[in-house]
Symmetry: C2
Subunit: 259 residues, 2 copies
DNA sequence: TTTCATTTATTAAAATTTAATAAATGAAGG
DNA sequence: CCTTCATTTATTAAATTTTAATAAATGAAA
């Protein structure tokens, strides 16, 4: 939502083209050179930071809604996206004083009625995504004054049940690391063993063995060695590796066991 | 729902105490002595078998709804229950001719109107459960004429998107096997290494190493040896083992890595 | 009473994983 | 311009773990 008229339409008649009581929230993790961050949104009318999210449209599936929201917030389509949990505790819509009605009226001229469709109890389907930070373009909209990356260990208190969502997203992502390949959009097409090890270390939050871990990826036939070396200055030149497309894609749908 | 008046109330005024558009479906896996089965329900008014499920009440959370439904269908409370995926494709409510309107009228005297709340698009949160078959009491109700265990490799075509649900439930359960302890309600308090190996083999669908696999459980401190042996007739007596409660409970919430 | 089938437990072989060492590379300093 | 040095990758050796093979136990059946 970028214009005031779009906003007004959404608040007064949004229930006509959105599925009532059904939202999506996305934990978008961003990786770049050894740092893991999370994309958060600050609304002008909510005093706490939030996960990017929104209502599901009547003409789209859950996956499509999640893809739309992440694509809009990051500028990147086709990123690694995965449903991790659905949140439906009663009372989870309660903002606990975080919503500023006056500010909302000031910005929109709309008085929020008790029976507005947005006050209805909602269920939110949580998705997480992993993207490369340099390729992403954090995008704000009418309400969100800010849209920023936060290092994973410096995430502020979030609105609603979004704290729990982040905790669960990270937990699910770290389990998925053992069962789905990752890295295709996070590393260059040619990468060194040290780079992919660092990626996994940052995502998992654990130290990995420098020789043993890459060997597992090779044993799974997920990556393979190239006849090319990188020049990294005053050090021994490491060999380049690449992902094996077919194996990678197959593992994405069928799963694997990486330990 | 057991009586006709309950049914009538649900169909005409159910939206008053249920959350509209929000259902739960449960893949209840049953284990007993090396066989894995799935609990299915056959409704009098739907021509195909279904997963047990139902609408979420306005006064309960998702987990509570899932616990209520599984407890009602199996007679067992407090079983291993886990959310695995939420299904919200548009058109997933379409029964594809599986719903028999005439039979429904015959049984209830209710004419289904186009605008009945049950015709609204729904999102279903999928849970799976694992229970011991001998302790379970499959229970039918007003509509479900039958409620039966089906061996996992002999599951018939199901109604709605329940085929996909079962596939996803099994997939999720088999991944969870690597990260959460299982067996406390499926084995006797004292069990042999062969028994727990068989349990894992049946649940995972894979052959496991007879000495190595149990050793991993011991190394994780999940099980420990007792000073007692089982008499199994004309064979060498195996040693009994038990679960370590504290480790087991901790792993249930924090996760583990079992490979 | 002895043999036998079947199962668990122990031991030895194989494979894998970890740690230690060697080799490579170019910057920095004499 | 040559030597030293810090740092990184690659290889080799040690340690550990996993697999396979063998031994021991048990009671039914011959």
């Amino acid at each position: 939502m970028e214009t005031l008229s779009e906003v007004k339409h959404f608040f007064t008649e949004g229930y006509l083209d959105h599925r009532p009581g059904l939202t999506i929230d996305c934990a978008i993790f961003g990786y770049h050179e050894g740092v893991l961050k999370l994309l958060l949104v600050k609304s002008k009318v909510i005093t706490k930071w939030c996960l990017p999210g929104g209502f599901v449209r009547k003409d789209e599936n859950l996956d499509e809604a999640a893809a739309r929201i992440t694509a809009w917030r990051t500028g990147i389509g086709n990123l690694f996206l995965k449903q991790f949990k659905t949140f439906g505790d009663i009372g989870r819509n309660d903002h606990g004083g975080a919503f500023d009605e006056n500010k909302f009226y000031e910005l929109t001229g709309i008085k929020f009625e008790e029976d507005n469709w947005l006050y209805d109890e909602t269920v939110s389907v949580g998705f997480y995504a992993i993207t490369d930070i340099v390729n992403a373009q954090p995008t704000a909209d009418f309400f969100s004054s800010e849209c920023e990356w936060f290092p994973i260990d410096k995430i502020p208190n979030l609105a609603f049940d979004h704290d729990e969502m982040v905790r669960e997203a990270l937990f699910a992502m770290r389990i998925d690391l053992y069962h789905f390949p990752i890295g295709k959009n996070l590393l260059q097409p040619k990468f060194t063993l040290k780079e992919i090890k660092l990626l996994y270390e940052v995502l998992s939050g654990k130290k990995l063995n420098p020789t043993n871990f890459p060997n597992k990826l090779i044993a799974l036939d997920l990556i393979s060695r190239l006849d090319e070396k990188r020049n990294i200055g005053a050090h021994r030149s490491p060999t380049y590796y690449k992902f094996n497309e077919e194996v990678y894609e197959k593992a994405l749908t069928e799963g694997l066991v990486l330990v």
